[in-house]
Symmetry: C2
């Protein structure tokens, strides 16, 4: 088995060491490198200090096969990466005509004239490979030092990402004769600790120990299980693994390669040619916003209502004032009325109603902070769920939106099955 | 002038070096330390590897006056911080009864029994100071090594933060006889590069060079200018500085100490006893969601409508089908109708209407992607603004919501002035 390829990541800039800017580049690079089977040994963030940076670059090159640095390629006096990299590897700096042509062409494309200071961005270590930057003025560069190849990329994430994918990743794979692992991403609505329990004792015939690494990633639009498989794992074994995992994770699965439950719901509705309207109270519009944030929402999304005041619930969705009085706004009957009301008034195939207590405060007897009622009205009836979510106001809102999207996704997926009426007959608390 | 106090930050865990979890702890700590006048020399992220970590801790202690480490204090085999810290400083590990009592009391408070593995969290370097963790089971600890004081805190951000503020920051200030600088935060809606231009040549009588450091921070709910002033700067000089900055930044200022424009708008409306309803199209509910995410929204927020389909714009806000036909949904006349319509139908004092093209695609002749029309209807009339925002769909939505909040804030602030009717008379494109 080939020795693991190792990497050190460097990110540079006073804005990072002063806590002004959050370094997302290193985390993204680390995830991509994990997906390639490369092991990151260190992530180092350094200030704009020439001697420090020179020492750090030199030490990093002694620690790993690959170094990837981000930042410090701009035109200002604080942009020291080229200088420090040259000093660390014992070469001079020189103006590179090919790099200068790239910088000039970016300015031409923007219809702006290049300032003298931008020439600095083409002054690079002698002998380096210039890395083209299609999304910004600063070219990157690569050098070899101490049996290590060092790649230096611009700081802005939208510039760094494409350059890594197009120029750095292939170079790493080629130089180390690596066949990239197979990556499978499965969107899930579940925490890492629950996932670990559910995946214990995973044992697939034909899948060697060490041929599989399992990762996890949480984000605001969805969590995912990441499966990294040796390229030699046969397709049937891979499929058996994915099936077993999906079985174990059940209704928490968004989909293979589908991470965002809003996107998964939208694509199902669009495929069915069906429309959706939503009535939210405590989530404030966050559910509608998740759906509309995705291109193509107009294929299925008609309308949302944020009915924060009770008068608005009555007026827009026909919620009964008697029900509000008897059960309170945060109740099953009101959630059902919101779902059915918005479905009717918008003329949609599906309607969703959410009402709850996000805190701080607002609890009632039997209704702690985090209480939410979610109802989904479809062509085949209305279903309802009652949950109690943990956390502060923002977290309760996020968790409620996520739970609602998953419930809607399950409803639409099984639309021909009858509603779960035993669990949630109207009138039962 | 006393020599600057320096710090190195360490964050630990394979989940960080595999790119699974984004390290926000180091960035938060770096910002707090900047606010205290402490200079961060390095941020190092290390994997769960005992010998590496021992060497990193030892080297860090030689580099700075203060080291703050986060992570690696859990009960599992991969939690190596105590072991590595003890090895680096040449002491043994020992079970600390006071730490054990803390761990036990957290479990008691949760009504759960402590597992044997959790005892590990009380096995700490001999001679360390135990740092209490009110929000989790892992106590932190502090040791001295190589003229440096090293603080080790738990990884979960909601545990680390309170411990830093309560125990670490005061200890750093006391040990180095530091009087903390004065910090002033001014919320702004402006990019850093524009800010830099506007603050060039700032020269306040009585303010010495070096007595002021200016920082900047961007976030989804607002950007801010951060002023760090030597504690000796007299109050009148400080006030003159703040006034000058506010003058220069003009209508881009949210407020001193106010970063979130939604909160600033909400507090003005609540103070005036006035109510608000919003009608959004392309922003999908994101504006309403920003307002409802803040506690106390019920004091002033009545209702939101996401009128994505044109039929919904007509039905809910009375937008004229003729206007839709003649001018398109993305037009001044439709924005005004949305604002006036939602204000009327919800019975609110203020109504906001937004319509635009967020992309990808959807552009029309004269209406590129990013075109938005924002109208604000109040007791004294309707104002309108037309903008073209740059970026992808998500960024156009974010920028439109921010621009809308600022326009509304300015309108409410100057509510007794007459509307800017010259700039935006109805019927003019």
């Amino acid at each position: 088995m080939p020795e693991q390829v190792t990497a050190v990541l460097l990110s540079q800039g006073d804005e990072l060491t002063c806590g002004q800017t959050l370094d997302t580049n290193s985390s993204r690079l680390a995830a991509w490198l994990w997906g390639m089977g490369v092991t990151v040994r260190r992530i180092i963030t350094a200030p704009d200090h020439r001697d420090d940076l020179t020492a750090i670059i030199d030490a990093a090159a002694g620690l790993a096969d690959v170094v990837i640095g981000t930042g410090g390629l701009g035109p200002t006096r604080d942009d020291l990466t080229a200088e420090a990299a040259a000093a660390a590897s014992g070469v001079d700096l020189a103006l590179r005509p090919d790099a200068l042509a790239q910088v000039q062409s970016r300015f031409d494309a923007m219809g702006r004239s290049m300032a003298d200071t931008n020439r600095k961005q083409a002054i690079l270590p002698v002998g380096c490979t210039v890395l083209e930057n299609p999304n910004g003025t600063a070219p990157g560069f690569a050098i070899n030092h101490r049996d290590c190849r060092l790649y230096f990329l611009p700081g802005p994430p939208h510039e760094m990402g494409p350059m890594f994918e197009a120029l750095v990743a292939p170079d790493i794979l080629a130089r180390h004769h690596l066949t990239p692992p197979i990556l499978v991403r499965i969107g899930v609505v579940m925490s890492e600790s629950v996932l670990e329990k559910k995946l214990q004792g995973l044992d697939i015939p034909g899948l060697d120990t060490g041929a599989l690494s399992v990762g996890f990633r949480a984000s605001l639009t969805g969590n995912e299980v990441k499966l990294r498989l040796d390229p030699g794992v046969p397709a049937p074994v891979r499929e058996a693994l994915v099936s077993e995992i999906i079985d174990r994770l059940g209704s928490a699965v968004v989909g293979v390669g589908e991470i965002d439950s809003a996107a998964a719901l939208g694509s199902r509705l669009a495929a069915r040619g069906e429309t959706l309207a939503v009535a939210e109270s405590c989530t404030g519009g966050a559910l509608a916003a998740r759906l509309v944030a995705l291109p193509g929402a107009s294929r299925y999304f008609l309308e949302g209502a944020t009915l924060y005041a009770n008068a608005a619930k009555v007026r827009v969705c026909g919620v009964s004032p008697t029900d509000l009085e008897a059960h309170g706004a945060v109740s099953e009957v009101v959630a059902r009325a919101l779902a059915e009301g918005i479905r009717r008034t918008a003329g949609a195939d599906w309607g969703i109603g959410i009402t709850g207590i996000t805190g701080p405060g607002g609890e009632r007897p039997g209704k702690p902070v985090g209480t939410v009622h979610i109802a989904i009205a479809g062509p085949d009836g209305v279903t309802h769920r009652h949950r109690v979510h943990y956390g502060d106001r923002v977290r309760v809102i996020q968790r409620t939106v996520t739970a609602t999207l998953m419930l809607a996704l399950q409803r639409v997926r099984s639309a021909s099955a009858s509603p779960d009426s035993v669990e949630s007959a109207p009138g039962q608390p």
